[in-house]
Amino acid sequence: MAISVEYVVKETTNNLWRNWMVSLAAVVTVALSLSFVGVALLFRQEVDNATARWQSGVTLAIFMNSSVTSLSNPQAKAVEDQLANMSQVSRATFCGQNCAYREYRGMFRGDPTMESAITNPSQLPVSFRIKLKHAAQAGSVGSVFTNQPGVQAIEYAKGEVEQLLKISSFLQVASLVAASALLVSSVVLILNSIRLAIFARRKEVEVMKLVGATNWFIRVPFMAEGLIQGLVGALIGCGLTSFFVSEFRKLIAQNNIKLLQPMTASAGEEVVVYILLLIFGSLVGAGGSAIALRRFLDV
C-alpha cells in the first residue's frame, strides 16, 4: 500500500516538534559524537600524510667522527660498501659537510644562538642517511654499525615523528572512546525521542490498529523521525569537524608550529570522512528507531 509522503512529513514533523527538547538533545549528541569521530579520522589522515613525508626521508642516520670529513675517507668508504651490500637497505645517501650545513641553516633559521654557533660547514659531522625497506628493521641495521671505527653515533629518525604519532594516537584513542560513549547516548536519546513520540500517540496507534492501518503505515513516521535526527546530527557534526579542523590549521599556520605544519588532508580525503559521518549518522538514527519500534511499538 502506498504511504503518502505528505502524511509522513506531517506526522514526522509533529513528532519531532512535540518533544523538541529530546529531539534537540539527540541531534546535539549525534553531532558532537560524530564530530569527535570526524576530527579523529581527519587527524589520523593528516598525521599519516605528515609522517609519510618524514618517512619518505630518512629512517636511520649514521654520524661519523669529526675526523671523517668526506666519502674519500676509508672509514666512510667501508660504511658505504657495507650499506650497499645489505638487503634491508633500500637507499643510502651520503650527506657531506655542505649538506649538513644546509640542513642546519634550514632547521635553525632565525635563531641567533644557533646561527652564530655554526658559521662554517667544517664544524659539522658528515653522515649517511639510510632508507630501509621496512622501518621496523632500523634497530637491527643500526646495531651493525655501533662499534664500527669512525662511527660516532647512530640516530633513528624516531624522535619527533614518534612523539607526534604517540600524542596523536593518544588523542585519537581518547576521542574515539568519547565518541563511542556519546554514540551510545545518541542512540538512547533517539530511541527515547521515538519512544516518547510513540507514547504521545499511543491512542492514535491503537485506533490505527483497530481500523486496519498496515504496520508499515504506523511505523514509517517514527522511523523517519529517527533517521532525520541521525542525519541532521551528522550534518552538524560535519560542520563542526570542518570548523574545528580549519581553525586548528589556521592556528598552526599563524604560529609557525613547525612540527605540525606538514599536516594536511586533501579535499577528497575530507569528503570521504564527511560521507562516513553521514553514514554513521543514519545508522545511529535507524538503530535508535529500530530498537524503539521493536520495544515500544507493538505492531
Binding site: Y7, K203, E204, V207, K209, V211, N215
Partner: protein, 227 residues
C-alpha cells in the same frame, strides 16, 4: 460470518483460562448479545475475532477466512472488515468529530474525495452531522459513543463488535445507542455486542450467547439476559 471451533485461550502461560472448548457460529446479518458474568471471556472472544489475540488451540473463521492461517501482514486487511466499539469510546481528544471519523479512512489510505463523501453520510446516520466540528470533550457520553460507532462503521465493515458500549451511559442514552446499533444491523451488518445490561437484552429479544468460565453455556434465538 464468524465461526469458533473448539477454541481455547489462556493468559499468563496457561495459568489463567479465558476460553475453553468454545464453539459457536454467527451468521451474516445476525444481532448477537454476548453475556456472562465478569471474567467469563466475553472480551477475549471479541479480541480473538479481531485477531488481537491468537487462540491457543481451535480454529476461527471470520468472513470466510481461517484467521489462524492469516499471515501477519494480512491482519490489517482483515480488520478493515470489522468495526469496533468500546465502553470508553477511544476517541482522539485533539481531533474533531469529523476528523475522528475521517482518521479511520485516512490511515487505510482512502483517497480524499472518498473520505469527504463518506464521513458526512455516516455522521448523518448517527445524527451528529450538525456537531461535526466539535471536539470529543464538548459532547455528552452518548454523543461520544455515537462518534465511536460512526468511526467503526464508516468503512462499511461486515461485522461490528461492541464491548459493553453502554456501560458508561445513562438509561436514556443507552436506548439511543441501541436504536443506532439496530439500524446498523438492519443495513446487513453483523453485530456482536458484549453487555451486562439485562434491561437492554431483555427488551430487545435477540440471539443471546452466554459464556461462563470460557464456555458457551447457552445459545438462545430470542433470548433474555438471565434464564
Amino acid at each position: 460470518m464468524i465461526r469458533f471451533e473448539n477454541v481455547a485461550k489462556t493468559y499468563k502461560e496457561g495459568t489463567v483460562v479465558a476460553l475453553e472448548a468454545c464453539s459457536t457460529e454467527i451468521q451474516k446479518g445476525e444481532f448477537v448479545f454476548l453475556v456472562g458474568s465478569s471474567g467469563s471471556g466475553k472480551t477475549t472472544f471479541l479480541k480473538l475475532v479481531l485477531r488481537d489475540e491468537m487462540p491457543d488451540s481451535g480454529k476461527i473463521w471470520v468472513a470466510g477466512k481461517q484467521i489462524g492461517k492469516l499471515s501477519h501482514w494480512k491482519v490489517p486487511y482483515l480488520r478493515r472488515n470489522i468495526g469496533c466499539v468500546f465502553q470508553d469510546f477511544r476517541l482522539l481528544p485533539n481531533r474533531t468529530v469529523h476528523e475522528n471519523v475521517a482518521f479511520a479512512l485516512e490511515v487505510i489510505g482512502r483517497p480524499r474525495h472518498v473520505i469527504s463523501a463518506q464521513v458526512p453520510q455516516v455522521l448523518e446516520l448517527v445524527g451528529l452531522l450538525k456537531k461535526k466540528d466539535r471536539y470529543p470533550d464538548e459532547l455528552s457520553g452518548g454523543e461520544q459513543q455515537r462518534v465511536a460507532i460512526a468511526r467503526a462503521f464508516v468503512n462499511r465493515p461486515l461485522v461490528l463488535l461492541a464491548d459493553e458500549p453502554t456501560g458508561n451511559l445513562d438509561p436514556g442514552t443507552t436506548r439511543g445507542i441501541m436504536r443506532l446499533l439496530d439500524r446498523i444491523n438492519k443495513t446487513g451488518t453483523t453485530v456482536v455486542m458484549a453487555t451486562h445490561d439485562f434491561v437492554i437484552v431483555d427488551s430487545m429479544r435477540r440471539r443471546v450467547v452466554e459464556l461462563s468460565q470460557g464456555r458457551v453455556i447457552r445459545d438462545q434465538v430470542r433470548g433474555i439476559y438471565g434464564y
